[in-house]
Amino acid sequence: MEYLVSTGIGALTASGVYLLLRRQMFPVIIGLALLSYAVNVFIFSMGRLAINQAPIFEKGVSAYADPLPQALVLTAIVISFGMTALIVVLALRSFLETGSDAVEEAVQDPQATIKDDKESVVR
């Protein structure tokens, strides 16, 4: 199982990093989400893997999964939601403000710019 989990984390990281390096906002957001998964699972796996040992205390049971990484990851998941939401909104606002979805100043991709000059409605 450790093979699967570690290679899984590796796959998530690699694809996350690749998307993070794209020039458009949306792939960057997706890349960040993938990296969040990878980091969460990584932290979780630092408590080592355990099957059928949920950290719910019961009399007579002695083996439990490590609850501490779980607690840390639980809040990390919720915080990463907050972060994703903020970044999405930032991306949205900057797109609405500039008409461009690019995260790189130098490259002005004409396709990313919505053609609103002709249709512009003056309020």
Partner: protein, 950 residues
């Protein structure tokens, strides 16, 4: 403590001055002068003890680990210098009250002046060299503010910048030098350092320390080749010039040389460098002063020249010369401050400072004219005035110095400087004040108010008194100060008007005669000078500065590419390099811990995951597809959590997944649907290589960690969960109890994120963004925006979902669940209403404001934590008990549950705010096409008028 008080009073008063300015200009000046006078009074109460030979100290440790302490000491030199700073300070403040125009902000001016005064006092009184360095830099900073006080003037800003660059830069060298000095002496207290001169001069650190300290002192005191900043600092208001360049700022360097004289002086290097630089400065300053037409520029270069004189005297390394240096500091402060103020009066009254346009002012303003003439005579060294005495004694000291084996060099060149000084003084005094009366001034000059010439008179008084009776008015002060400088007894200090026909007197006479001729033939000499090339310090400085700025701009342009991918690539490459270094220098083989066997469902899930990752990389251009694949990955992660005994995580992950997907879908609706392909192959290869390196590194790292055993602190948490936290779900107990403070911080972060989202999108409904939204409205809308089935299903499900949420919340302490998960479930249930029936429909029916939820959540969690204070326990201490409720039975209630309620409310609030804001922007874009919810029409509709905003 009262020594520290002397230095603190101006700093405190700097805060008061702007407030006092509300009471008018006079009130502001009174408060400022009062503060300086109070500091002077405190200082003078200490004077008797100091003059009796005591050295007063007061110290508070600051950072004792690095030898930094807040320590002050007061000896003869400190008393002399602090007294000079404060006395002239009071006079300057009075003068400035009348000099500044009503348009100038007097509160700001006096606040800067007091800051500067406090910093100067700190320099004069610091015992600790590091503290001295701090005050030293403070004088550079505050003088920057003063010199650039007239911000609207380009010249003022340039002058201020140059002064800061030179003196502040010199200050950096000084810090290094003082640190070395402290190392060499074995102490950072000046009162100790000056007793250890022998050891310091024998140390191998002496030479570097000396050179660095001299750079700092020379830069501050405008010694050659740093002399060019001082004249440009004359762009400051005249009271500032008078203060900075007579008694304070530029004297700081000379003061430092005097302060450290017992520690550093007496070596060959000291003599050659310090007296040599001083001599050159004296000559260069006097020479340039001779050819300036601006009165203030003449004074500026004359100041440079006189500072050179003092430096040269200190450089001789003899006690007699050091005594003369102190005498001249005193004399120069008096006549130079008086002259600066007089020039300010001329400028103020006539509107010009150009010597070619001035003349005959003595008749137009008799009092200030007479005062200015006396002061310029003192500057020239005319007998019966104080300048004569110190000049004579300077020449005498020069005759004792044998520089580079040439005994005539020092007296000869010093005499030449004296000659030039006679010439420029004559030019200043005679051309401006004597001669025929003129009537072509920009303003017709009058005698200024007494507030302006009064301070000049106060300064001219000692010029005359010391000149007539030096033994009475100067000797006691100078000899006590000089004794403090050299750190021991001095040769008898006997200034007298007549010493007999000494070589010094002969040189003096030659200087007067020569000076007269130079003045007479000034025009011809000037013409000859103009035909010769000469270096311009300011232009060199400006060019050097422009080169440095250009270099940093081009470096910046290359590094700061404004491209997120480049920055990230750089950071990730650094991470890979650090990781690789660790990988190749340490063991990285798999550990010995037994691995779990792979089962078939897990393998299938893994295949799903890898396939999804590959698909994302290949097909991320189709954004909707990318979003769907991402949520598939989220589900796989969730299943992994179930598999590996983390039910809480699985619940959280699945609900966050739902919320995130809705959020991204809403956002995608407004963003372009496609990502354009990136065609740059080298770049894709670079990114791919970087991504693979990162992925492989993380995979190896996690595998190496997971296959090793670990000593965890988990056992403590599991054992104490029930007895102390009152719950069996250890994860939840950790969240709301054991590590409750972390959770409290986290919900505050969520709250901030929600508010930031609100702020970002709330203003998007105006301006450019709003126009763009309006332009998008023409997009194709689904004919059935609110499918009936979805609407009915969500409304039926709402109460059920809410009940599930409450259930998950309540059981959270003992079974998987809790505030985070319950909050997400309830938020989803509420969101479904908005999605199915329209944002406007849902907004009109929601009774609770999402912002209220956010605030209430954080407040409840905080109040629960703070409640522990009532019982005398630390923040967030929890308690629990068992209660019997009829019908329900025995239940357990923990205070942590109230905390969890806070978490719950914050999560609900955050999600609702985020999604509702996006939905609102969306509603704006599609307001025409969206029909009302099908069941909303006809019943349950409150009268809300226009409905959607627009």
């Amino acid at each position: 403590m009262s020594i520290a008080l002397v230095c603190l009073i101006p700093f405190l008063a700097a805060l008061v001055a702007p407030l006092a300015a509300r009471g008018g200009r006079t009130a502001c000046a009174l408060a400022t002068a009062g503060a300086s006078a109070a500091a002077l009074a405190v200082l003078l109460t200490q004077a008797p003890a100091v003059w009796a030979g005591d050295v007063l100290r007061s110290a508070i440790p600051w950072v004792p680990q690095v030898g930094l302490s807040f320590s002050f000491f007061l000896d003869g030199l400190g008393l002399f210098f602090a007294g000079l700073i404060l006395t002239i300070g009071v006079l300057i403040i009075v003068y400035a009250r009348f000099y500044l125009s009503p348009d100038d902000s007097m509160g700001r001016f006096f606040a800067y002046l007091l800051l500067f005064q406090g910093a100067m006092l700190g320099v004069a009184l610091s015992d600790n060299v590091l503290l001295l360095a701090i005050f030293w830099e403070l004088t550079s900073l505050s003088s920057f503010l003063l010199i650039g006080f007239w911000r609207q003037s380009e010249e003022g800003r340039r002058g201020a910048r140059m002064a800061l660059a030179i003196t502040g830069g010199g200050g950096l060298a000084l810090i290094a030098g003082l640190l070395l000095l402290g190392q060499a002496a074995g102490t950072y207290e000046i009162s100790e350092i000056i007793k250890r001169g022998e050891a310091i001069r024998a140390s191998s650190l002496y030479m570097p320390a000396l050179l660095l300290i001299l750079v700092g002192a020379f830069a501050k005191s405008a010694q050659f080749p740093f002399h060019f900043w001082l004249p440009h600092a004359m762009a400051a208001p005249t009271p500032v010039s008078a203060y900075l360049h007579s008694a304070t700022m530029v004297k700081a360097g000379v003061f430092l040389l005097a302060r450290l004289w017992p520690a550093l002086a007496g070596t060959e290097a000291w003599f050659l460098i310090v007296s040599g630089v001083g001599l050159v400065t004296m000559l260069v300053g006097a020479w340039i002063a001779l050819f300036k037409d601006d009165l203030k520029a003449i004074l500026a270069y004359s100041t440079v020249s006189h500072l050179g004189l003092m430096t040269m005297l200190l450089g001789f390394g003899t006690t007699a010369a050091a005594t003369v240096a102190i005498f001249h500091i005193f004399n120069h402060a008096a006549f130079k401050a008086a002259l600066f103020m007089s020039v300010g009066i001329v400028d103020h009254e006539t509107g010009t400072r150009d010597i070619r346009r001035l003349g005959g002012l003595r008749a137009l303003m008799p009092i200030s004219g007479a005062l200015a003439l006396i002061a310029s005579a003192a500057m020239a060294g005319v007998p019966l005035l104080n300048g004569f005495l110190s000049k004579e004694m300077m020449l005498e000291a020069a005759f004792t110095a044998n520089y580079a084996g040439l005994p005539w060099l020092m007296p000869g060149l010093a005499g030449l400087a004296a000659l030039l000084s006679v010439a420029y003084s004559a030019r200043l005094g005679v051309s401006a004040y004597l001669g025929p009366e003129r009537h072509d001034y920009p303003h017709h000059p009058h005698e200024p108010p007494a507030g302006m010439w009064g301070p000049v008179a106060v300064l001219v008084a000692p010029v005359i008194l010391v000149g007539l009776a030096p033994m009475t008015f100067a000797a006691p002060l100078v000899s006590r100060t000089a004794a403090a400088v050299v750190g021991g007894p001095i040769d008898a200090f006997k200034p007298a008007l007549w010493h007999g026909l000494t070589p010094a007197l002969i040189v003096s006479v030659i200087a007067f005669v020569g000076g007269y001729f130079v003045w007479r033939f000034h025009a011809r000499i000037d013409a000859a000078r103009r035909s010769a090339p000469r270096p311009d310090g300011r232009r060199l400085f400006e060019r050097g500065l422009a080169n440095v700025v250009g270099a940093s701009r081009s470096l910046n342009a290359r590094l700061h590419s404004e491209s997120l991918p480049s920055y990230l690539a750089a950071m990730l490459s650094a991470v890979v390099v650090v990781g690789a270094a660790g990988f190749f220098t340490a063991t990285h083989a798999a550990g010995a811990r037994e691995t779990l066997p792979i089962n078939a469902p897990a393998a299938v899930m893994w295949a799903f995951l890898v396939a999804s990752c590959v698909a994302l990389v290949m097909r991320h251009g189709d954004r909707l597809l990318a979003l769907i694949v991402t949520s598939v990955i989220g589900v796989v992660v969730c299943v992994a959590f179930i598999q590996f005994s983390a039910p809480d995580l699985a619940l959280t992950q699945i609900s966050v997944e739902v919320v995130t997907t809705i959020l991204l879908l809403l956002a995608l609706n407004l963003l372009p649907r496609e990502t354009p392909r990136e065609t740059s192959v080298p770049r894709n290869v670079r990114d791919g290589a970087l991504a693979l390196a990162c992925g492989a590194g993380v995979a190896f790292l996690s595998f190496a960690a997971m296959t090793r055993d670990v000593a965890s602190i988990a056992d403590y948490h599991i054992a104490e969960s029930k007895p102390q936290g009152g719950g069996t779900n250890v994860v939840n107990v950790i969240l709301v109890d054991i590590r409750g403070f972390d959770t409290f911080g986290e919900i505050i972060v969520l709250c901030i994120a929600a508010l930031a989202i609100y702020a970002l999108l709330d203003s998007a409904l105006r301006g450019e963004a709003a126009r763009r939204l309006a332009a998008m409205r023409q997009g194709v809308e689904s004919a059935d925006a609110h499918p009936l089935l979805l609407v009915v299903a969500t409304r039926v499900l709402l109460p059920l979902a809410l009940v599930v949420g409450v259930y998950i919340f309540l059981r959270g302490h003992n079974q998987p669940g809790g505030g985070f998960i319950a909050g997400l479930v309830v938020a989803i249930a509420l969101l479904m209403q908005a999605l199915a029936s329209g944002y406007g429909w849902a907004a009109r029916r929601s009774r609770i404001n999402a912002h209220t939820l956010l605030g209430a959540g954080v407040l409840i969690a905080g109040a629960t934590g703070a409640a522990a204070f009532v019982f005398g326990r630390p923040f967030l201490t929890s308690t629990f008990g068992y209660f019997h409720i009829p019908l329900v039975g025995q239940i357990e209630l923990a205070s942590a549950m109230a905390f969890d309620l806070g978490v719950f409310l914050t999560v609900v609030g955050t999600v609702i705010v985020a999604l509702a804001q996006i939905a609102r922007v969306e509603a704006r874009a599609e307001r025409a096409a969206t029909p009302e919810g099908p069941l909303g029409r006809g019943y349950g509709e409150r009268a809300t008028g226009a409905g959607r905003e627009g």
